[in-house]
């Protein structure tokens, strides 16, 4: 027993720091979530300071629970995170496999592929929403206008003109609008985070056993079956890691939401909390606790999944 004392003592500063770092904000949030606490209220000025006198019980939770916008925020959070995860993993695997072979200029291609990861999220969002997705001035607007021009040109053409005159005029999608703003976020974050997935999958592919591949070739496995039965299981662990790390990051997306549409149509949980914080700290804290619970549910799922792949 005695010889454990020294290691314990040495660990203490780190443990204490961690406890403070995690526990203090968490307990403050918990406390605020059970009291009435607003920044501005002319009629009830006593609510503007955090005090146990203003105890509200589960009132804040009830209030948030009954807001449609709260459920919409959870839904948006999940849609955005799942969309990004699916796309980054799919693109990540495809690109990693493509660049894992030898071709001239491979080094440069790899560096260029990684570069989106080094762009600041806010800059990334501004670039995408203004230069690429803008329905008039962005690449999207220009491309749609170009296609429409070509089609209207073809309407005049002999023979095929009749066919093309049935085609409608394409109209560009407004990604700042409520219908598509989530997709805009998914797109830009996918672009930014696919390199991360590629990087991790690429290192894993390089450690893949080539003799297993050759054995599979001799066993009559097609390229698809080699991918399905050898490469994909081999990538199981890196996929789990990519999913976990990204899930943690993307549950807290904020800059992209703000820049694309200020939350219209894509308001996720952090953004929703951010709006509440403008005045109602109590409700914001209650939402924060809900967010912690949601993150834990997601984490349990992920840990189960990763635990399963790590066991193998």
């Amino acid at each position: 027993m005695a010889n454990r004392t020294v290691p314990r003592l040495l660990q203490t500063p780190a443990v204490v720091l961690l406890l403070f770092w995690m526990l203090v904000p968490l307990s403050m949030t918990l406390f605020f979530s059970f009291i009435r606490y607003v920044l501005n209220n002319l009629r009830r000025p006593e609510w503007t300071s955090p005090s146990i006198e203003n105890w509200r019980g589960f009132g804040n939770y009830q209030y948030v629970w009954n807001q449609d916008s709260f459920w919409l925020a959870i839904q948006n959070s999940l849609i955005i995170v799942c969309g990004i995860l699916f796309l980054t993993v799919a693109f990540g695997i495809a690109i990693a496999i493509l660049i894992n072979r030898n071709f001239p200029g491979r080094g440069i291609v790899r560096v260029m592929l990684i570069s989106p990861f080094f762009v600041m999220p806010a800059v990334n969002a501004v670039l995408w929403i203004n230069m690429l997705l803008d329905p008039v001035l962005g690449l999207q607007g220009i491309a749609v206008a170009g296609i429409n021009d070509i089609i209207s040109g073809l309407r005049e053409a002999p023979l095929v003109g009749g066919f093309f005159s049935l085609w409608p005029e394409f109209s560009p999608i407004s990604f700042r609008g409520a219908q598509a703003s989530s997709y805009a976020v998914i797109m830009m974050v996918t672009w930014q985070w696919t390199p991360f997935a590629v990087l991790i999958f690429m290192t894993s592919l390089q450690s893949e056993d080539q003799q297993q591949k050759e054995a599979a070739v001799l066993d009559g496995a097609s390229a698809w079956n080699q991918f399905r039965f050898l490469t994909l299981p081999h990538l199981g662990r890196p996929i789990a890691i990519v999913v976990m790390i990204q899930a943690i990051f993307h549950l807290s997306l904020y800059a992209e939401i703000e820049i694309v549409s200020r939350g219209s149509g894509n308001k996720n949980l952090p953004y929703y909390i951010g709006e509440l914080v403008n005045n109602n700290i109590g409700a914001a804290s209650a939402t924060g606790i809900f967010a912690v619970i949601l993150a834990n549910i997601v984490a349990i799922f992920l840990l189960r999944m990763i635990g399963k792949t790590l066991m193998e």
């Binding site: 050759e214 001799l218 009559g220 299981p233 193998e312």
Partner: protein, 332 residues
């Protein structure tokens, strides 16, 4: 059926010619062993036959059909790799059944064949384990099982025993030989270990730097090696070589004699001093110096001969067992 013929097969990697054009025939049902020092192109030759490497020129025929352009999976060959190359995420059952599954065989039929292969190879208790949970010898058996379920025209083995410990290696050597006797399928076996070659082969192909030095049965190679390289490579301990004037007196540019063909006698033809003596009980190996013939002459004496380091020893070579070679190293 599995008669494999190589005609003028050549392989170069970029500038380097690893296999100069060579011809070779392996008859149906034969156990052929490619043996040679490390890096001499044995694996490359095997991979050419398997189709994992493309020939630079020449033709490969299996049962008369030209398969040079046929993809590996269509050649009807099964290969066992040095690293076993088992599929780590699949159970033993799935591993063995994999080639059948790829051939779109019925599941019931796959199960039956896997069971059968597993009972031949004593793997029944391990069918639901993953390769990571098996010992080296068991993995080796799984790799062989995966090869036999396909009922191939020929088996290709690339140094399958080199990752096993010595005792296990002897056991597996026997098992593979027995498997060959039972299946009577052509087998091509690559090794750098001449003991494996001698004990298992019907036909040994000795390679050096991609060139076939000699093809023959183990005893042919032992008795009448075609050149100095084969003479030195086959047999353990290695043949003694005598060069220079001493060799001229015995009738060759150089002369070889195997350790087991020199008798230890009082006042023999040659005299020397014992260097290292290895007493194995059944045999004793003497490394003899100062004979005036070569740096060291190795001698095998039957039984435990009680000569020690530094003793004078008399040697009598059996003159009819001498191997004489000319200036080019060819047998006279």
């Amino acid at each position: 059926m599995g008669r494999i013929v190589l005609e003028n097969v050549q392989k170069t990697f970029g500038e380097a010619e690893v296999i100069p054009p060579l011809d070779l025939t392996i008859e149906d049902g034969e156990f052929a062993v490619f043996v040679g020092p490390s890096g001499c192109g044995k694996s490359t030759l095997l991979r050419l036959i398997a189709g994992l490497e493309e020939v630079t020129s020449g033709a490969i025929k299996i049962d008369g059909a030209d398969v040079t352009q046929v993809p590996p999976s269509k050649r009807g060959l099964a290969m066992v790799f040095q690293s076993y190359a088992l599929y780590p995420h699949m159970t033993v059952r799935k591993n063995i059944g994999f080639p059948l599954r790829m051939a779109k065989m019925e599941q019931a039929e796959i199960d039956a064949k896997v069971e059968q292969a597993a009972s031949v190879l004593n793997l029944k208790d391990y069918l639901d384990r993953k390769p990571g949970q098996l010992s080296g010898g068991q993995r080796q058996r799984v790799a062989i099982g995966r090869a036999i379920v396909r009922e191939p025209e020929a088996f290709l083995f690339d140094e399958p025993l080199s990752n096993l410990d010595a005792a296990l290696r002897v056991g597996m050597r026997m098992e593979i030989s027995e498997l060959h006797n039972k299946l009577n399928t052509t087998m091509i076996y690559v090794t750098h270990d001449q003991v494996e070659a001698m004990t298992m082969a019907n036909k040994i192909v000795v390679l050096q730097a991609g060139v076939i030095e000699q093809v023959g049965s183990p005893l042919e190679l032992y008795r009448t090696p075609r050149n100095r390289f084969v003479a030195g490579f086959i047999g353990s301990p290695k043949m003694n070589f005598i060069d220079g004037d001493a060799a001229e007196k015995l009738g060759g540019h150089s002369v070889g004699i195997r350790p087991e063909h020199i008798d230890v006698v009082e006042g023999g033809l040659w005299q020397g001093r014992v260097g290292v003596a290895e007493h194995l009980g059944s045999d004793t190996f003497f490394h003899v110096h100062d004979t005036g013939l070569a740096e060291t002459i190795t001698v095998r004496a039957i039984g435990d001969v009680s000569l020690r380091h530094g003793d004078t020893i008399g040697l009598s070579p059996r003159m009819d067992e001498l191997h004489r070679f000319d200036a080019k190293g060819l047998r006279i």
